[in-house]
């Protein structure tokens, strides 16, 4: 998927076939969406190895529970929820939970962002706390709506709205500081 595109929704007939246990149909879904799920998980975990494991676990779990998908939400939203749950389980198991919980706190000065480096959006994204990074990634990189994100995160739409805005304000601040640094402006 190109950067900033929308998550591809599988054909409802393919989903229905997968619900009936058709492994080949499920493979089509895996093939079409595993890259999106991996990237989403990578933005949460920031570790390729962990993203690999969680992506696989998420699809295994999705296949086992696919009968429970009733089509109330978009399939990609349902898949992202499973991937996010798998990530949280993994973090809990591996003791990363505490670190991530600490990240959930608002970080006004984004200490990990190295202002001496040139304009680097990936570094800037990493520097955001998880609670604001998560909705921004889903909206900007995967084209989810505020309603979709609220379903995945289990928070009200208003919370999604304020977190996305906070994320963009922080990024704007980082870029402004970075530009001043580069141009020598104080």
């Amino acid at each position: 998927m190109p950067a900033g595109g929308s998550v591809q929704e599988p054909d409802p007939r393919t989903v229905e076939a997968a619900r009936r246990g058709d492994l080949a149909a499920f493979e089509e879904i895996v093939r079409a969406s595993q890259a999106d799920v991996w990237r989403f998980v990578f933005h949460l975990a920031r570790d390729e190895g962990i993203a690999d494991d969680i992506t696989q676990d998420a699809f295994i779990k999705a296949f086992r529970h696919i009968k429970r998908y009733r089509g109330d939400s978009r399939f990609s939203t349902w898949l992202f929820s499973i991937a996010r749950n798998c990530a949280m389980d993994e973090f809990r198991r591996s003791g990363r939970r505490r670190k991530l919980e600490a990240e959930m706190e608002f970080q006004p000065h984004a200490p990990e962002f190295d202002q001496t480096r040139s304009y680097d959006i990936r570094e800037a994204l990493k520097a955001l706390s998880l609670d604001v990074r998560e909705p921004l990634v889903m909206i900007d990189l995967f084209g989810l709506t505020y309603r979709d994100v609220s379903d995945v995160l289990g928070v009200p739409v208003g919370t999604v709205k304020s977190r996305v805005h906070r994320a963009r304000m922080l990024l704007a601040k980082m870029f402004a500081e970075n530009e001043r640094e580069e141009t020598g402006e104080f």
Binding site: A3, G4, L23, V30, D140
Partner: protein
């Protein structure tokens, strides 16, 4: 306007940009923006952030489809008849032939069911089938698209016959309608037996200039008195049973089970690079379109005889296969006169220098464990090497012994240990060479080549009762551990490697360059694997005759040769190169960017 209201409008700006504001709030905000320069400036900044996030380059993403489906398949019921010995079957005959062609013709979709055998079970069954097959005859139809802009589709009829272990004929008749008669027809004939090997094919001519190639010319070449299982004129046996293509269960995915002409068949999927032994078998001579290593290959394989019934190659960017090979008739017990047409006596045959000998008269230490193979030809080569060979069905093993002179083992070989901790050196197969293990005694160098799987080959070599010693360091280079090769002041270690690749060999070249080779341990035929070379104090990229594209790696200009699969760049005053013939530029660039 109150500052509270102003703040509320500011807070709505992101939702406004995302199109998530209700219509009434949207028009109120638009009205506010007209009169508020501060909010307009903030809106512009937020839009800039938004597009920077949306458009930031996305790195390569590993493909876990095979792993996921493998895990799911292993949890499901297995329907393959386990360990059932290959039964002699005959599926040819006019009626059956017509049925197979009809059922697996290119317009018929792949059929699917949920239950599948595991890749590992298929690999085991294919090995057993390859060991049991004594003779075979088949005809295939090939449809190829995209070979040349003026020739959108080419069609071929293929006839194959085989008699174990070394007699084979392959005839490819080009039935394409070309724009004019000057276009070369891709007719190929290959004949081989224990005496010789001979091929006739169209002259090599650049595809772009094909109409001016005066295509009536054909080349023929061959060898008499040939060594058994000689790598330079090998037999395209993967067309018969894809033993080498399906050697490692990690290199393909089982998609499902289906029925063809009343027979069980499995549908498999793999990347083009992992299907090379099959594709190069069908393209044993002549001119064919090229594929990308990561293009998709689907194979429908008979679940009892393990003959491929249909194989298609689809470029990643395309929906329709660009190459389809479909079986029309298959017979595993044809009359002898069909399978042994004999190699023609021709002036173009060179002398292979093989001299047959009684194996008892040779001084070659023989393996005690033969993995079910039987003694076959023995003799000496024109350079005085002594050779023992063993064969059964399509499977073979060749032991070559060099007395007195200790050649070095190949630099890229992986050190392995035989039983009793004896040192040996393993070299995986590629499109030219078979799997090989080198061992050394005080005064002998033995190399053992085979199309047996890696672990079986190592067991066979372990049963040769000689005390092996460390091999001489190859060609002035010094073999080191991977850590040593990557611990030099100028070296960097890759933080990213594609799925399944592990370091398998490392050495320091005579000029001090550090070289590390990464391979997928059970999977071969992707050429070298990945070779990482790093050299200190180099100011310029070396001259080369290859064609290049220029790309940027971490701020440095790098040159990429698609022909060699090589990316080279100067990082400060350090030369770095990554050679990976079976990977695409995106993956190689990701490895380069991950050097830390």
């Amino acid at each position: 306007m109150s500052s509270d209201l102003h703040e509320r409008y500011r807070d709505d700006l992101s939702a406004f940009i995302d199109g998530e504001l209700p219509a009434s709030e949207r028009s109120a905000l638009e009205e506010h923006l007209e009169g508020c320069a501060e909010c307009r400036a903030l809106e512009a900044r937020l839009r800039a952030v938004d597009s920077a996030v949306r458009l930031h380059p996305v790195g390569p993403v590993p493909n876990h489809t095979g792993d996921i489906m493998g895990r799911l398949a292993s949890e499901r019921p297995v329907v393959l008849r386990r360990a059932e010995r290959f039964r002699r079957i005959r599926i040819a005959g006019v009626a059956a032939a017509a049925t197979i062609a009809l059922l697996i013709g290119s317009s018929v979709p792949w059929l699917r069911e949920g239950n599948v055998a595991s890749a590992a079970e298929i690999t085991g069954s294919v090995r057993e089938a390859a060991r049991s097959l004594e003779s075979y005859q088949a005809s295939y139809e090939i449809v190829e698209r995209g070979w040349h802009p003026d020739v959108p589709v080419r069609r071929f009829q293929v006839e194959v016959a085989f008699s174990s272990p070394e007699t084979m004929s392959l005839t490819i008749d080009d039935e394409t309608t070309y724009p004019s008669s000057i276009w070369p027809r891709n007719d190929v004939e290959l004949l081989a037996d224990a005496e010789g090997w001979w091929i006739q094919e169209p002259s090599l001519c650049p595809t772009d200039a094909l109409p001016i190639c005066e295509g009536t010319q054909t080349d023929e070449r061959g060898v008499m008195s040939r060594q058994p299982f000689d790598g330079t004129n090998r037999l395209p046996t993967d067309l018969i049973v894809p033993l080498e293509t399906l050697a490692a269960s990690q290199s393909f995915t089982v998609i499902g089970q289906t029925t063809v002409a009343g027979r069980d068949a499995y549908e498999l999927e793999m990347e083009f690079r992992d299907a090379l032994p099959f594709v190069t078998a069908i393209q044993a001579g002549g001119s064919w379109r090229e594929f990308n290593p990561t293009d998709r290959v689907r194979m429908l394989i008979d679940a009892e005889s393990w003959f491929p019934l249909k194989v298609s190659v689809t470029p990643r960017s395309a929906q329709r296969p660009a190459l389809t090979v479909s079986a029309v008739t298959l017979d595993d017990d044809p009359p002898a006169d069909l399978t042994n047409p004999g190699v023609p006596l021709a002036e173009t045959l060179r002398d292979g220098g093989w001299s047959p000998q009684d194996p008892e008269s040779l001084d070659v230490p023989a393996p005690e464990y033969l993995a079910g193979l039987e003694p076959y030809r023995a003799g000496t080569t024109s350079t005085g090497r002594e050779v023992l060979t063993y064969a059964r069905g399509l499977t073979w093993l060749k032991v070559t012994c060099v007395q007195g002179r200790l050649d070095s083992y190949p630099l890229t070989a992986e050190p392995v240990q035989l039983s009793g901790g004896r040192p040996a050196y393993y070299l995986p197969a590629d499109s030219d060479l078979r799997r090989r293990v080198d061992i050394f005694t005080e005064d002998e160098h033995l190399f053992i080549e085979s199309n047996l799987p890696r672990e079986v080959l190592i067991d066979v070599v372990g049963s040769i009762s000689v005390e092996t010693v460390e091999g001489p360091d190859p060609k002035r280079a010094s073999v080191v551990t991977v850590d040593e090769a990557l611990d030099l002041p100028f070296t960097q270690a890759p933080s990213y490697l594609p799925d399944g690749y592990r370091a398998s060999a490392a050495y320091l070249a005579p000029d001090g360059s550090s070289v590390v080779v990464y391979r997928r341990p059970q999977i071969e035929f992707d050429g070298l694997g990945i070779e990482l070379v790093q050299s200190d104090a180099v100011a310029f990229l070396p001259a080369s005759s290859l064609d290049f594209e220029t790309i940027r790696i971490d701020g440095s200009l790098a040159r990429w040769s698609p022909e060699a699969g090589e990316l080279q760049w100067i990082d400060g005053d350090v030369y770095r190169s990554i050679t990976a013939p079976s990977l695409d530029l995106g993956t190689v660039a990701a490895i380069a960017e991950g050097l830390r």
